[in-house]
């Protein structure tokens, strides 16, 4: 079809959709629809993972992000009952800060992508690394230490959240 393979077509469609939904997240006035567009964006990204043969990552992405984190997001926004007319007025200062932060983010991303050509990617069985078995072996043999450090990081965040949530600390 027009000189592209099905994979390329799917990649194009998914990319278009994820960028479009990403923009909709920013541009929609209603916070709830913003969150719903964000969920759709996550689904598109899960599709990308599937295209890269990373099934485990795709499903975990949906379970964790779409299934749990975004539910909590939606939860909070629904309870806060934000409406279009109640949108807080933004001062010039916040706008400038947002622009600077966004610009820095762009700078970092462009910089990192520019350097990616020189990066030597270690290959783990090429296209099969995304399958659960291979991924598990890689994680628990070669990257056990970073993996555990990440879990400790999450634990620290969790303890911190509990401490903030506690009313009086003795």
């Amino acid at each position: 079809m027009l000189g592209y393979t099905i994979t390329q077509w799917l990649f194009g469609i998914l990319s278009f959709l994820s960028i479009m939904f990403g923009l909709m997240v920013v541009f929609s006035r209603n916070p709830v629809s913003s969150v719903l567009y964000l969920i759709l964006t996550f689904f598109c990204i899960a599709g990308h993972y599937l295209l890269m043969n990373a099934q485990f990552l795709a499903v975990v992405h949906i379970v964790v992000y779409a299934g749990a984190i975004m539910v909590l997001f939606l939860f909070v926004i629904m309870l806060m009952n934000l409406n279009e007319d109640q949108e807080p007025q933004r001062t010039w200062l916040t706008k400038i800060i947002a622009a600077v932060a966004g610009g820095l983010m762009l700078f970092v991303m462009v910089g990192s992508l520019k350097g990616s050509e020189q990066l030597q990617l270690q290959s783990y069985g090429a296209s099969q690394v995304g399958l659960v078995k291979n991924l598990g072996k890689v994680l628990f043999h070669d990257f056990l230490f970073p993996f555990e450090i990440a879990s400790v990081l999450l634990l620290a965040a969790m303890v911190g959240a509990i401490m903030i949530g506690k009313r009086d600390i003795k």
């Binding site: 975990v60 539910v71 939860f75 629904m78 659960v132």
Partner: protein, 352 residues
């Protein structure tokens, strides 16, 4: 290739029809079963013994007035029940309903829509998306009670998913470290069913399944004493019907998953001896059909247990529900995982 696609299409349609049919007759049987437990007769007027009651209920649902609240978000209001129904039906795709069979021409067909090697994760994913139907529907109703019901549903489902996931991990350890449902069922082919090695895991899974399907004693999202009708307060006509119907489909599918995970799915004791005795060759379609029958019997027993629980136990209070989920089931499931790993190490199923 074409015959393969046609066959898969046929399997899809059959499973769709079976899901809907079982759900329809579950509604009747639920009422009948409740009646029997309460020394009553139950619906018996529509047709002989009331077997046309689901049709009458469906007809009534279709002809009821359709009400969409004026101030609600119309699109999301309709999206809610559709999404709930969609996710309920999507879970049926990875369940292995029977053994493969081989035709005379040598083609092998399976009683399953697709056997993906991350089937268990797929199930968890679909179940976790299922909550969006309730949340979107409840929010779009623009009703206090509907919103509270939706929020209850989502927090309940997220809380119980964790204990459920960990009990599934223990199950996967027992059944040889595979995420494919077919392989989990096949691993119970020779020896004993997983329930023998996972009694605690099964109990946790069962309680979590009750909570995930929003059934009593965990039906707080639609607790009529506190929340009018819960998340479907504003729904009427067939959209309400979709919500109620999807709950029964969820019940059917979770019964299927439980019997596949813990009770050997389409395997049953002395199956090989039986097939040998009546002279069936390996790969015969009759073996598949008998296996399907065994599987279905188990599913129906589980549906009855679901109903039995519903008509026995009173509803939990919300803080009790959260306490049970986080303070009892989560530590229990972690304990179960630990015990399982130790036991499996001594059985020689785990190698380091």
């Amino acid at each position: 290739m074409l015959s393969f696609i046609l066959y898969k299409l046929l399997v899809c349609i059959i499973i769709f029809a079976i899901s809907l049919g079982v759900a329809a007759y579950s509604t009747l049987w639920e009422r009948k079963f409740a009646a029997f437990l309460q020394d009553r007769v139950g619906p018996d007027r529509a047709g002989p013994k009331g077997i046309l009651q689901p049709l009458a209920d469906g007809g009534k649902m279709f002809f009821k007035e359709e009400i969409i609240p004026n101030v609600s978000n119309r699109f999301l209001f309709i999206l809610g029940p559709s999404l709930f129904m969609l996710t309920a039906l999507m879970t049926g795709t990875v369940i292995p309903w029977g053994k493969d069979f081989t035709t005379a021409a040598g083609n092998t067909y399976s009683f399953q829509i697709t056997d993906i090697n991350i089937g268990v994760l797929y199930l968890l994913g679909v179940v976790s998306i299922g909550v969006y139907g309730i949340m979107i529907g409840g929010w779009a109703s623009n009703n206090k009670y509907a919103l509270l019901g939706a929020i209850r549903a989502s927090s309940q489902m997220i809380s119980y998913e964790i204990a459920m996931g960990i009990s599934i991990i223990a199950l996967i350890v027992t059944s040889g470290g595979t995420l494919s449902l077919r392989e989990i069922v096949e691993s119970q082919d020779e020896g004993v069913a997983n329930i023998v090695w996972q009694p605690l895991g099964f109990l946790i899974f069962f309680v979590c399944a009750l909570a995930e399907t929003n059934r009593a004693p965990f039906d707080l999202p639609e607790c009529e004493a506190e929340l009018v009708g819960g998340y479907h307060t504003e729904y009427s006509s067939m959209k309400l019907g979709l919500f109620l119907f999807a709950e029964y489909i969820n019940m059917f599918i979770s019964s299927a998953i439980m019997s596949a995970f813990y009770f050997g799915g389409y395997n049953f004791p002395f199956a090989k001896e039986l097939y040998h005795a009546i002279g069936l060759q390996e790969g015969s379609i009759w073996i598949s059909l008998i296996g399907f029958g065994a599987f279905f019997t188990k599913i129906i027993i589980f549906i009855n247990v679901f109903m039995w629980v519903r008509w026995t136990l009173p509803r939990f209070r919300y803080d009790q529900l959260m306490n049970l989920g986080w303070k009892v089931l989560l530590p229990l499931s972690l304990l179960n995982l630990g015990i399982t790993i130790v036991v499996e190490y001594f059985r020689g199923n785990i190698h380091f």
